[in-house]
């Protein structure tokens, strides 16, 4: 069977799709200067509108998505993306960031209220909605920590950022981008940060410690108040990676736990769509003593007017152009208003219930659970002895389900991290368990079966080594 064509392979010279307004006669070369004109036109697809539609519709059919498939990816919070959010976002799509602010008061009011809502949810005092992704929010947060220490004359002295060895890769990468040296703190046997090792690593040379709670094993750091105290006593700041906020919405707040800086992932907890990899949104929140360092612009209310304020002399600066991923801010705002305080609290309750339900049922099947106690919204498991996580994951694809997160966190061998979220029914969870059961049965009967999986997907296991050794990163047009 022939390869699925690229749009360039459906292209035929002279084919036209959409028709923009006609261009009036004028001297283009005169206006732009002959020397500035392109000699060779770019090789772009020439397809009819129907060919275009067939191509991208068929491509969509070669893609898993939450709308069609169960996606229990640990640390990603793949919950349902409500369609009413899309309806709301459409109402604001045509706004230009440079239109007169008096003509965009609705947009500015939305951002102002969202800043407040996120403070209420997290227990922080001020928020910037600018950062475009979690990692971007982390960078803003770490830059603010830097600015804080510099303002107190301790910038030179505090060169180290601590992260747990189970941390998500963006944490150390971000700290390095902000000019810090990264040191790891070990996880203890309980799966939580080793408090003694933490205390030993803490000191006047430490700028900050980056934590997430629950941590990347899905476990609540029970001694968080003590950790916070130890960090603050040494003059260091506490950074909260908000990736796992879904577990604690309405139950406990990072601000109350002692965190000084928080970033949220609106594309996780607050249902803005993942879009196949982005755009995300990573607002960053701080306690009052850091508010002056927030990235600009910040939305303020002055009398009856909403104003985007850029003139903040101690701000760490701009993280990106314009206001942020505004379209996603609308979606998150819509979700928060839809659920309200009680609704958000129910989110964490059912997220945690679903995750524990799966943990118990997977254990019954023979999966190993290294931390066998009540977990939060996600948990880590390992396949039965002798099976590889990768093979189990690939075999699940044949059952129409997306595998769990694999090989993260790095501290557990053959790790599988599973997060069902609150929007899945028990029937779906049971079907997932059944599918895994079938995979295990197949593996027992025929050990090689798993190694060759998947069998039913549009393409099967890929040669990733070849892709890296001989990179082909764009279409090679036939010359001549």
């Amino acid at each position: 069977m022939a390869d699925f064509p690229l749009i360039y392979e459906r292209s035929k010279p002279g084919r036209r799709g959409a028709q923009p307004p006609a261009v009036r006669e004028f001297d283009l070369a005169g206006a732009l200067g002959e020397e500035n004109l392109r000699r060779e036109p770019p090789r772009l697809p020439e397809v009819s509108e129907l060919d275009l539609v067939r191509h991208y519709t068929q491509l969509a059919h070669r893609q898993f998505s939450i709308d069609a498939n169960f996606y229990p990816l640990g640390s990603c919070t793949m919950k349902y993306n409500p369609k009413v959010n899309e309806e709301a976002a459409r109402l604001f799509a045509d706004l230009h960031p440079y239109q007169a602010p008096e003509t965009a008061q609705g947009a500015l009011q939305l951002m102002y209220e969202l800043q407040h809502d996120l403070c209420a949810i997290t227990g922080m005092d001020a928020f910037s909605l600018q950062p475009a992704a979690g990692a971007h929010g982390e960078l803003a947060g770490v830059l603010m920590i830097r600015a804080y220490h510099e303002s107190r004359g301790e910038g030179e002295q505090r060169r180290v950022v601590l992260v747990p060895d189970s941390a998500h890769g963006t944490n150390p990468a971000t700290a390095a981008m902000a000019g810090y040296e990264v040191r790891e703190v070990p996880t203890g046997p309980s799966g939580e940060v080793d408090l003694e090792a933490f205390r030993a690593a803490m000191g006047p040379h430490v700028a900050a410690v980056m934590l997430t709670n629950p941590n990347t094993l899905g476990l609540f750091e029970r001694r968080i108040v003590e950790l916070a105290r130890a960090a603050h006593a040494a003059g260091a700041l506490l950074y909260y990676d908000g990736a796992n906020l879904n577990a604690i919405l309405g139950r406990v707040r990072p601000g109350d736990m002692g965190f000084d800086v928080v970033h949220l992932n609106l594309h996780k907890t607050f249902t803005t769509p993942h879009g196949g990899g982005g755009p995300g949104t990573g607002p960053v929140g701080v306690k009052a003593r850091l508010a002056e360092f927030l990235p600009v612009p910040v939305i303020e209310k002055r009398g009856d007017e909403y104003v985007a304020v850029e003139d903040r002399p101690r701000s760490v600066g701009r993280m990106r152009s314009h206001f942020g991923n505004f379209g996603n801010l609308v979606r998150a705002y819509t979700y928060i208003r839809a659920l309200g305080r009680e609704g958000l609290r129910q989110v964490s309750g059912y997220a945690v219930l679903n995750a524990n339900y799966l943990r118990v049922r997977l254990k019954e099947l023979g999966f190993r659970v290294p931390f066998d106690r009540v977990n939060m919204h996600e948990f880590v498991a390992q396949p039965p002895e002798g099976l590889k996580t990768l093979d189990v994951a690939k075999a699940l694809l044949d059952h129409g389900m997306h595998p769990m997160t694999v090989y993260f966190p790095l501290t557990v061998k053959e790790a599988m991290m599973i997060e069902p979220t609150e929007t899945e029914s028990l029937e779906t969870l049971d079907a997932y368990v059944d599918a895994l059961g079938q995979v295990l049965e197949r593996a027992a009967a025929d050990p090689d079966y798993l190694k060759g999986a998947p069998y039913e997907t549009p393409v099967r296991r890929l040669d990733e080594v070849k892709a890296a050794r001989q990179p082909v990163l764009r279409y090679a047009f036939e010359e001549g």
Partner: protein, 447 residues
Amino acid sequence: MRYHPHTPEDERRALETVGAGSIEELFADLPAELRDPDVDLPPGMDEAALLEHMRALAEKNSTRGPDFLGGGIRRHFIPSVTPHLALQSEFVTAYTPYQPEVSQGILQATFEYQTMMCELTGLDVSNASMYDGASATAEAALLAVRHTGRDRVVVSRGVHPETRAVIETYLRPLGVSIDVAELSPLTTAGLDLSDEVAGVIVQQPNFLGYLEEMRRLTDEAHAAGALMVAVVDPLSLALLTPPGAYGADVAVGDGQTLGNPPAFGGPTFGFMVVRQELLRQFPGRIVGQTTDVDGKRAFVLTLQAREQHIRRSKAKSNICTNHQLTALMATINVAALGPEGLRQVAAGSVERAHALAQRLAAAGFAPLAGSRFFAEFVLPVALPAEEVRSALARRGVHAGVPVPEEYGLGDAVVLAATERVSDDDIDALVRALDEVGAKRPEAVARG
């Protein structure tokens, strides 16, 4: 509203399996003194009330009326087929394609995107998109520093002020110095480059709308051993000499003009395309082509060892999420238009902008039309720029991106025109500018 499906029966069954008496019990690990805080949020709403609320907010915005807003974001023609295809739920609600066997849709579309960006810019390798033009430019500055081992960058004042601000945010913590190359008066003058300069960053067309001499500036950068980073409007590349042709090492910019609505500034997407030699230093996700066990062509995320989830503190960047969906929208839009359609959109914008400038000159205004411009140009005005913009808005015309003081042009605005602008729109703008007293007939002399 609620999106969890659990009935009381479901809840009972799940709790029984888990061996807990209530959901509250599952939160026993939380410190008692911190539990169940007061969260100051209004109660939830049903869908009808929710949409009413959102409409009421939207009604406090106004977008109707002739539009001449630019500054890097413009409302171009986007055929209906573009959002119809890009917003299919399989593209919208998919995750990052880490399991390629079930993600060929996103992966192939990204490969097509990468190809498109290489064709437009004339360079060798594109990543799968970044957050926006400003942060992509900052990352390009970091790439130049990594590649050359030097610690200064030179940025033209013609680069968008917000982009320059973001470059500063990214480079300051790493101790990299930034020198600004001045405009004289509307385009970048000669660069005075030491051998400490890692990269030179110039925008084409620049923030004021004018065309820079990219070939000359690139040669100057290379003579000093520095990289040339070209910040480009991708739509302009349908007509203008691409960065690869004048020897640039990196092309970055914001992709909004290729087919996303203005969306109050976001999400759009950033792009980065580089010479082959810079591949290993290059941040961001990349999709590559390979085969599966049956020999079928397939696409996969590759060269991941550069990225944060593998290299952690030694990654080329901390970037994880990209701007996949908005990049997809641009890919589909360019395929919908084809090379001829894209050319039309670009050429139409150039023609309308020049028609506007001529009409203004004929009406006694003094637009700065001496230097070549693409689809945006500067109009000196007799009142502070923000006042002009507000006064025009009161008359139902959206125009007048303020030119900041740093350009030394006095009170001035940037005007843009896209292919959608009609003769009536132009008349309305000219009339409105006159009525609000914005006319400044004398030419601006800049020392």
